[in-house]
């Protein structure tokens, strides 16, 4: 049994005739010790899908209209408040892009980590354990740092404090939503190194959201590519990066410059991402797709396993 098994998740914003479906039939699994990357353009539903795992999307305005989120076999969508509280920051921990989203500026960082320990592992709510966690995330001289306030640390260090806080509960699954977007490449490299190391040592599973295909190549075991609320390709990372099958994945990979590859001109994807609630009929990518056929504007394609472990939502992938 996989640690996480999301089946046909459907989520809407708004009600009645104004309801728009932000997540439309998303399914994926994450095994123990596995890293899955979620990629796709802004607004395609990555964060909302990831927040759903601990049911952190406020309802209303959101509404779950279908599907299951099985965490260790139990459906998160059926849990009561008490059960939800125990998984949030417990089995599942989150790290967000902005340290300010999780760090309180008026408390010392050591105390903030200790609070998290008190909640989930009360017997370990000690300075020693806080220092061990800070060491784990690579904070130099942690003994002298536990009394610092967040503003006394650089962006990269704050990001590591957040990860330490997320690790305090010894989560089975770490959900990181663009954890390095605001950071420099050298600090980003430190954080990726840290995640890789934690995964190897603690057998932690990771769901990582990113725009950056380089990060996918660096850390992912598998990748899910989203477009307009749906997964359009799901595949082992190496295979996808070497040979993307869905036209959108191909277009995405062609549009980014790569270090050391000389290109006269970037291949931009024509047109814009459709707005929520205004998805085109048929395949949602068809107005921008270079491979579109006449029936692409009519029939909505299914996500189909075309090779072992490789799922593609396009009948013309060949």
């Amino acid at each position: 049994m996989p640690l996480l098994d999301i089946r046909n998740l459907q989520l809407e914003f708004g009600t009645g005739r104004d309801a728009v479906r932000a997540v439309d039939g998303v399914s994926f699994t994450i095994a123990e010790g596995e890293t899955l990357c979620l990629v796709g353009e802004s607004g395609c539903g990555k964060s909302v899908s990831a927040l759903s795992i601990a049911r952190l999307v406020p309802t209303p305005p959101a509404r779950y209209v279908g599907g299951e989120i099985l965490l260790n076999g139990c459906d998160v969508l059926k849990m009561d408040q008490r059960e939800l509280r125990s998984i949030r920051g417990g089995v599942v921990s989150y790290v967000f892009q902005e340290p300010s989203a999780s760090l309180n500026p008026v408390f010392r960082v050591g105390n903030q980590i200790k609070e998290s320990l008190k909640l989930h592992r009360p017997q370990f709510a000690t300075d020693d354990e806080v220092i061990r966690l800070l060491k784990l995330v690579g904070i130099p001289a942690p003994e002298s740092r536990i009394r610092d306030y967040p503003h006394q640390m650089s962006g990269g260090m704050q990001q590591r404090i957040m990860i330490a806080m997320a690790l305090a509960s010894e989560p089975k699954l770490l959900v990181a939503d663009e954890p390095t977007t605001a950071l420099d490449v050298t600090i980003q490299a430190q954080i990726l190194e840290l995640l890789r190391d934690l995964k190897a040592r603690l057998r932690m599973s990771i769901l990582l959201i990113t725009h950056n295909l380089g990060i996918v190549g660096d850390i992912a075991d598998r990748v899910a590519v989203m477009y307009a609320g749906q997964i359009v390709e799901l595949s082992p990372a190496r295979a996808l990066l070497q040979r993307p099958l869905h036209p959108y994945t191909q277009a995405l990979m062609n549009s980014v410059p790569q270090l050391g590859h000389e290109l006269d001109r970037l291949q931009a994807i024509p047109g814009n991402v459709p707005n929520l609630g205004q998805f085109p009929r048929g395949c949602r990518f068809h107005p921008r797709c270079p491979k579109a056929q006449s029936d692409c504007s009519q029939k909505a394609p299914e996500l189909v396993e075309v090779e072992p472990g490789r799922w593609v939502r396009c009948p013309y992938w060949k």
């Binding site: 802004s42 650089s154 600090i187 490299a189 380089g214 270090l259 001109r265 994807i269 814009n272």
Partner: protein
Amino acid sequence: MKLLEVKNLKVHFPVKHGVFSRVNAWVKAVDDVSLTVAPGETVGLVGESGCGKTTLGRAIIRLLEPTGGSVTFEGEDITTLEGAALRERRRRFQMIFQDPVGSLNPRMTVGQIIGEALDIHKLVADEQAREQRIGKLLRDVGLDPVHAQRYPHEFSGGQRQRIGIARALAVEPKLIVCDEPVSALDVSVQAQIINLLQDLQREHGLAYLFIAHDLAVVEHISHRVVVMYLGKVVESAPSKSIINAPKHPYTQALLSAVPVVDPDSKRQRIVLPGDVPSPINPPGGCPFHPRCPVAEARCKTEVPALREVSAGHFTACHLAK
């Protein structure tokens, strides 16, 4: 002739403390920087967060008062120009900002935003010419002339960035300082804007000083790249030579830290210890020495000069060959 020549530029900010606001330290955000940009050239500017890239860009177009050094534009020293004379020269150099939302007035239509620049410099004779010019500028950046009636919030992030570009182009500049113009955008929109900037460069002979974090983007768009660390230039070279054969240990670490798409790449990553030191108390000697993996004794005391190690390739490291 060089379009832009920056010589020994310094921008130091006072750090004030206490009731009497005495200045008790200086942030040396830009410290003795020299660089040149030729007409029609793109010079990329990279370096860690806080190393002084934005400050340098703002000082060049005189949005900031330099503490020392000089800025020469088309052969004229503009370092101390003021008032009307400065406004008049401003036509020739513009800036595009990272945040397309914050840099556009939300209460003005797109037509008013672009028209304002035309009016300030009296570039159009009458209302009809004004309208035509605005329509042409919008078409140039891939928008529709009917968009002139709309407000910034009615556009996507990428479209707003195009409006910012149209506004900069309105005054027919020779140089545009682009401060992270694509960092906030989606990869596919980013590709559209980069292509647009390159097309405009070909058509109008524009020069760019292009500030960005993404080294792959910088390599793609730049003819030359300048690397900064703690307010100083540590390396400067044609982009191919800096990407393929970086000489400064900081540039080497920076390049090795870029994650690559190819999962089979066997690159060795150089992980730098520690964080960037504060520009208030920069380390003596080579500013990079506390984090440098190959530093020697003299690196702690002697400041390395920027020297030419191969044709057109400059670096400030005692050990570079």
